[in-house]
Amino acid sequence: MNKMTDGAAGNGARDTIQEGIRKIAAKMLESGEAQVFIGYEEGTLPLRTTPAFITCPEDTVRLVWTPFCENNLTVYLPEYKGRDDVTVGLIVKGCDVRTLVNLILENQISRDRVKIIGVPCEGVIDRAKVAKVLGTDRIIRDSKVAGPSLVLEGDGFEVEIEIEDVLADPCEACRHPVPVIYDVLAGNGYEVSKDENPERAYLEIKQFVELPSDERFSFFARKIEECIQCYACRQACPLCYCPECFVDRQTPKWVSRWRGLSDKILFHLGRVLHVAGRCVDCGACRRACPVGIDLRLLTKHMEKVVSDSFGYESGLDLDGLPLLATYRRDDPDDFIL
């Protein structure tokens, strides 16, 4: 679990980071180093922030930094591909920066077209977990962050819960909370602790992976049956940037919109294979799913196969090569059925 080490993960640290982000962003826009800045602003619902695209330095006062900054903003970068007239400034967390590294390695954006404000991250909250703790039909009207806790107000109740208890799954076992590359680190000097045990991250999927294959398939099929093919998981993933996804191909048509189970399975298996060796477990896909399907069972397992087979962790090295761009004669192949 990540925690600000300056005591009780205080708002002090968060406020300093937020102040830092505003100042740096304003400076970037003023000096013309960046033409647009992508950050987070107050959302319209409790527990939420929303992506903000800012072009005027004065508007940077809208930027916020809270444990509600859940979106991975690098998803917007491929839209600027080839735009030599625009440099994009943006805020990245420890996981977001790793999708950014991959986007740079995969030539979707060039390093000198982004100005990166890195934030040492103590994790973002999982709204579904909050709802579970609170009871799904209790309506939250207001949410505040107070040090290590979350204060939730609703009709006739005020509840305080520990942020630590409602952190998103990827954050609970995050090993890279401090961005691996950045131009400026907001809140420099604050350190966040990280989980050193690489196995911990796989504990949640262990149960699923170790099921006998027929049971595993029926569990998987049951979950995938719930999918409504809205493709929010794909759209929220920074690495799903193909201008035409294989499911949208018409000639030939690979995947039908007809909600047959096999079509849905094809999409999910196709997608997870397409992010193999690239996925960084930012959790954006799972968070986007409107029906709450735990897509991490797939992505996390794929990450483990990659790590066990090739000792490769994605998105950490800007000077390296993407896993799928390397080949050695002795590459293991025992994961191939």
Binding site: T49, T50, E226, I228, R287, P290
Partner: protein
């Protein structure tokens, strides 16, 4: 009518809901209610489980009438000359048994009346949709507490809106007041809970006739003004006026608001009034089905021409279409907005794109900006 006028209102204990559902089933109705599907809730057949009415189901009521995928007809394409076509979809929808929705919310019930404009208008009658509508009685539960994104009141609906409902349940402390709204609703209650000379007997006992005036006062007490305000506050009318302005299509405001949209189909698929579809053939071997599927204006494929040209090339044009269809074109065609303020699109959007905010921006800036 010769008939002795039955009581206008009834009361049922909150603990009596399962018996109520049981009585409907016994009278051979299929009972459709909110059911759990993984982490989400949607309308499905209520089997033996206890009925639970969530504040608002994750998935909209429209699925029961306009399912996400629906075979329209089937065909054989075996031999060179043997091409057979069967209206299997119409046959299947006609064999649907009479059903009762138990636990709709007023926004969802209203959405059906909006969808009727599209599927059973004076010009067209979609047989698949029409049959389902004809065979379904809608029992709605009024809302006592708005969700964080509800704005039904602003769209002409409201937590006690009766539009589209056949029977309305209104919650008091430990009971519901049951109000038959339509002739159909009255008929259903009469049929399933027959009233004898000395009032209800047997199973019918779960329903108690009540004095209209007293109870109306009790219901009104739950409708405190300040609560209603929470369902309102979005300037829909002003936004519609702005969006109907000829310049609205090219307003620079779109440039600003579309940016964060990811281009998924969460908002359209979960919206109870979005109704766009695509039709495709699913062929396996020598036979196939022609299937109608939900489609979304947020997908590039929605408007992609065979030539490769796409008249809505970016998320900007696609997002504009969603807003304009609901708040300008639909109004022009049908005289009302295609939104019931359920807030599903607001709550489920992965990036918190908020329709209420967009409407407020247009209302304050006007369409030409």
């Amino acid at each position: 009518m010769e008939d002795r006028a039955g009581p206008e209102l009834f009361k049922i204990a909150k603990t009596g809901l399962d018996s109520f559902a049981g009585a409907l089933k016994k009278a051979s109705y299929e009972v459709l209610a909110p059911v759990q599907d993984g982490e989400a809730t949607r309308f499905g057949v209520l089997s033996d489980e206890e009925i639970q009415i969530p504040r608002l189901s994750t998935r909209p009521l429209k699925e029961l009438f306009f399912p996400q995928d629906e075979p329209l007809l089937s065909f054989g394409c075996g031999g060179a000359e043997a091409m057979s076509v069967e209206a299997s979809g119409v046959v299947a929808s006609e064999s649907i048994s009479p059903r009762v929705v138990l636990g709709a919310r007023p926004c969802d019930a209203r959405s059906l009346v909006l969808l009727d404009n599209v599927f059973v208008s004076s010009e067209y009658r979609d047989p698949y949709y029409a049959v389902r509508r004809e065979k379904t009685v809608i029992i709605t539960f009024a809302c006592l507490s708005p969700g964080a994104a509800c704005f039904c009141e602003s769209t002409g609906s409201g937590p006690y809106d009766e539009t589209g409902s056949d029977i309305l349940f209104m919650g008091l402390a430990d009971s519901y007041v049951v109000k038959p709204v339509s002739e159909r609703g009255k008929g259903l209650l009469k049929e399933v809970f027959p009233l004898s000379e000395d009032g209800f007997s047997g199973e019918s006992c779960i329903l108690h006739p009540v004095d209209g005036e007293d109870i109306q006062a009790a219901v009104d007490a739950t409708r405190a003004e300040e609560k209603l305000a929470a369902f309102a506050g979005v300037p829909v009318e002003a936004a519609v006026a702005a969006l109907q302005d000829v310049d609205a299509f090219d307003a620079s405001t779109w440039e600003e608001i579309y940016r964060k949209c990811l281009g998924c189909a969460v908002c359209t698929y979960l919206c109870p009034t979005c109704h766009c579809f695509d039709i495709g053939d699913e062929i396996v071997g020598a036979s196939g089905e022609r299937v109608r599927n939900w489609d979304s204006c947020m997908f590039p494929l929605f408007t992609l021409h065979a030539s490769g040209h796409n008249p809505r090339p970016s998320k900007k044009e696609r997002f504009r279409q969603r807003v304009m269809h609901k708040f300008s074109y639909f109004v022009e065609n049908n005289g009302c907005v295609a939104c019931v303020g359920c807030g599903r699109c607001v709550e489920a959007c992965p990036v918190n794109q908020d329709m209420r905010q967009i409407l407020s921006v247009f209302a304050s800036r006007g369409g030409g900006s």
